[in-house]
C-alpha cells in the first residue's frame, strides 16, 4: 500500500486579496462610517460618513465571495 501524502494544490489567488484580510478592512470601514454618522463632534465627519459606510458595505459584499 503506498503512503502518498495528498498534494495540496496551491491557490493562484493573491495572498493580499484573501477573504480574511479584506473582510477585516471592510468591517473597519463600516464601523468607522457608523461612528462618523452618530458622533456629536464634527459636522464634516458626519458629511463623509455615508460614503465611508457605503464603500465598506459594498467591499464587504464583494470580498465575502473571495477564497479563504
Amino acid at each position: 500500500m503506498s503512503m502518498t501524502k495528498p498534494v495540496k494544490r496551491k491557490s493562484r489567488w493573491p495572498a493580499w486579496a484573501r477573504r480574511g484580510l479584506m473582510e477585516n478592512i471592510a468591517t473597519a470601514l463600516i464601523a468607522l462610517g457608523f461612528l462618523m454618522l452618530f458622533q456629536p463632534f464634527a459636522l464634516s465627519l458626519y458629511t463623509y460618513s455615508f460614503i465611508t459606510m457605503l464603500a465598506g458595505t459594498v467591499m464587504f459584499i464583494i470580498v465575502s465571495k473571495f477564497p479563504e
Binding site: T27, I30, Y46
Partner: protein, 346 residues
Amino acid sequence: MTARPVPPLARDAVQINSIVETIQVTEVGLTMLNRTADSVARATPEPLARKVRGISDKGLAWLFISPTILLLLAINIFPLFWAIYLSFTNYRANRPGEVVKNLGFANYQRILGDKDIWIAMQTTAHFVFWTILLQTVIGFTLAWLIDRKFRGHAFWTTIILVPMMLSPAVVGNFWRFLYEPQIGLFAYAISFVTGIPATHIEMLSNVSLAPWSIVIVDTWMWTPYVMLICLAGLRSIPEYIYEAAEVDRASNWRQFWSITLPMALPFIMLAVLFRGIENFKMFDMVNLLTGGGPGSTTEVASITLKRQAFESWRTGYSSAFAIILFVAVFGLANIYVKALNKVKQR
C-alpha cells in the same frame, strides 16, 4: 364490584387483535389514497400531465417556490429599488402630475450637510445605546435568575413576558398616563422615594427627562424579549459541564465567567442584533409618547423621516434619507453576522 385481573395470554390476544385491526385500517386507507391519486392523475388533462412529467426535480422545486419569490420581489425588492431611484429625484407624492427632475446626488448632499438631521442621528444613537445596554444587562440577569428554577419560576416567567405581548399603541398610551405629573403613578413613586413634589416630575415635557422617558418605556417593554433569548441560551448549556467544573472545585463566580457567559454569548449577540435593528428604526413608541418633542429633543431619525415624507411631502429627499439609514443598518448587520459566526466557531 372489583374487576377480575385479565390473564396474560388473553391480554396478548387482545393486543394482537388490535394490531391486526390497525394494519387492516391502514391498508384500507392506503388503497383509498392510491385510488384518489389515480383519479386525480386520470382527471389531469393530458397536455398538462405531459408537461409536468417532463420537468426535473429541481425544476419542480423552482416551480413551487416561484410564487413566493415573485411575491418577495414585488413587496420587498421592488420598493427598495424604487426608493433608490426616487432618492435621485425631486419627486413629491402629493403632486403626482408634476414633472420629475433628476437631481443627481443633491438630496444626499443636502441631508449629509443638514445640522438638524445630524442632531436627529445623535438622538437616535443615544436611544439605541442606552436601550440596548439596559435591556441586555437586565434581560440576561432575569434569565439567569429564572434559570435557577426556583419555586414558581414558570409563573414569574409568564408575568415578566406580559409587557412584550402588549401592542406598542397600548403601551404608549398607558405610559402617558403613568408619566402624568398630576395623577401618574410613576411621578408619585419617584416623589415618594426622592421627596421631590410629583408636579415637578414632568417626564414627557422636560427637555432633559423626555429622552430618558422613552428609554425607560422601551426597556420595560422589550427586556422580556432579550430575557427569553438569553434563557434559551442558558438552557442549552449541558449540565455535565457544570458538574465537571464542580469536580475541579471551580467557584460559582468562575463557572459564570468561564462557562455560562461564553456559552450564552451567541444568544446575547443575537438579541442585541435584533433589538439594535428594531430600535434603530423605532417610530411608534416615540410618536405616541412625545411625538419628537419637547422641541426636537426626542426626534429620532424615523420621526424626522416621517415629517419630511408625509408633512413636508419631500418624497425624493426622504427616500435618500431612508437609503442612508438602510445602508447604516445593513452594514452593521454584516459586521454583526461576521462576529456571530466567529463566536459560534469557538
